[in-house]
């Protein structure tokens, strides 16, 4: 009722279009530029930290592994290993590396699968996935937490990438389109989440060992610093 009243009382412009609709275009463009800006800022921060050659190669390899994990097992429907790798990178190497590997995986995949508005939101989604895994890395030793984390990010990633669909929705943002998207994406998000959760539950310890070994070999400074923190 309240919404209906609100809609009926919206100011009408000269041409008859609802005034608020013309406002939402700048908002959308602003949101898009904001996301681009955030990703650019984090990339720039990494550039300015003057990374070592080892760190550069490490991120390139991990990105390639995650991208390959998304493409190699394309024969098994909807199995997405990329998310698992990105979460593991976040846990072992830290939040910055997690974000970089996540964002770059989306970008590199787009060179193969085609670029779109969704690429920028995939970058954000996977980047945040890696970064959040980095923030919560101490809690990853409990299996229920890993399971819930993987499942939750299956859906969160789906919703973040769905934001890109608002760009097709036009000047009037419609609730119905968001619902249509969530319905059409539900099975995909669920499979993605379950795959993440199962992989995190089963393979976590083994991959942690592999990645820790690589970290100690590649980045001796970082691993000694974190060791003293722990």
């Amino acid at each position: 009722m309240i919404i209906e009243n609100f809609v009926n009382n919206l100011p009408i412009t000269e041409s008859g279009a609802v005034a608020s609709s013309s406002l939402s275009i700048p908002i959308l463009i602003f949101a898009f530029l904001l996301v681009v800006g955030i990703i650019y800022f984090i990339f720039k921060m990494y550039e300015q930290s003057k990374p070592t050659v080892e760190s550069i190669v490490l991120i390139a390899v991990l990105t390639a592994i995650a991208t390959a994990g998304r493409m190699i097992f394309i024969s098994i429907p909807m199995v997405n290993l990329a998310s698992f790798i990105i979460i593991m990178v976040g846990v072992v190497f830290g939040k910055e590396e997690g974000f970089l590997v996540g964002a770059l995986t989306a970008l590199v995949t787009s060179f193969f699968a085609g670029l779109g508005v969704w690429t920028i939101f995939q970058m954000l989604g996977w980047g945040l996935m890696g970064a959040s895994a980095g923030y919560l890395s101490t809690k990853f030793d409990s299996i229920p937490f890993r399971f819930i984390f993987g499942l939750l990010w299956g859906f969160l990633y789906g919703w973040i990438t769905d934001i890109s669909a608002l760009f097709y929705a036009g000047p009037t943002l419609e609730f119905s389109q968001i619902i249509a998207l969530i319905i059409s994406g539900f099975t995909y998000d669920l499979t993605h989440g379950v795959t993440n959760a199962v992989l995190l539950a089963i393979l976590y310890n083994w991959f942690k060992k592999i990645f820790l070994r690589a970290r100690d070999k590649y980045l001796p400074n970082q691993s000694s610093a974190t060791a003293t923190n722990e």
Binding site: A17, I25, L100, V117, F147, G170, T172
Partner: protein, 326 residues
Amino acid sequence: MLKGTIKMELTRIHPAVYILYYFIMIVLAFILRDPYFLLSFLILILVLISLQGISSELKQIMKLFLPLSILIIIINPLIQKKGVHRIYLMKNFFITYEAIAFGILTSLALLIVILIFSSYNKSVTYQEMLYIFSKKLPIISMIIVMSLRFIPLINSRVGEVKKLNHLKANGIETKLDNNNQDKLEEFDTNISDTKFLKKINSSKKFQSIIKEAKIIGKIMGITVSWSLEESMFTAKSMKARGYKSYKRTSYLSYDISLTDIIFLVLIFITVSIIVLGIIQGYGLTDIYPSLDFALSDLPLNIYYFAFIIFLLPLIYLEIRERMLWH
């Protein structure tokens, strides 16, 4: 696998100009809401795509697009009750003509945006994108180039590990097999004693999923550790050859040509006319509260023609390229 790695072009346009042009096209696609504008947009984009030669990808695009558009067209009238022209399906249940029209126009715009992107992927190769990227973010673009090189390497390694796994599963190398399997399955002994996993293990469906995941994980894990070890040599070799000692140069280089300037001027003039039109309400048919649209309302004004001219340059270039070749 990578798209458009080789391009033969007589009419080359600076990638930055391309990116600007496509960006404006996308913005227009989601602002414009007039049946005539959108239909002519769709037709011209289809012409452009057919000139660029994409027909095989069109099938995949439709696969993505059709279910979403059907959902939008069905759900919008069910939820949206704004609109004057009501169509009663049952006694108290009605949908509005406006909501249906809105759903159709929205899915048309969705299709246009998807087509613009597939055209963009044909026009601008990833090397050109990296060229623009490398000016501002040299290290990040270095990482991207390196990971593009690592992907086929990892692919071939996965193939080798898969072969080995297959041989082992079929009982060849039996003695080694037993020893190695124990080592490889260390990772599941750590978690088998928790209550949470016992519950899951009892379900058969989960068991098969877990078995599948274990096989994938095994292959992936071996490949990952192999690749990580190997890449350490890459890093050492890069260091030894003096990476970072002086500035890297780009292997592609582009200059702004006369064509680019003409193109930019054309974009600037037509876009400013279109924006003037949009401010006055042209190209935005108001759907709610009442859609009063007649087929005879042809948009024969300067704004519409500016819009058509804005869409033509790439089609012109494609046709000119053909004329030059034949």
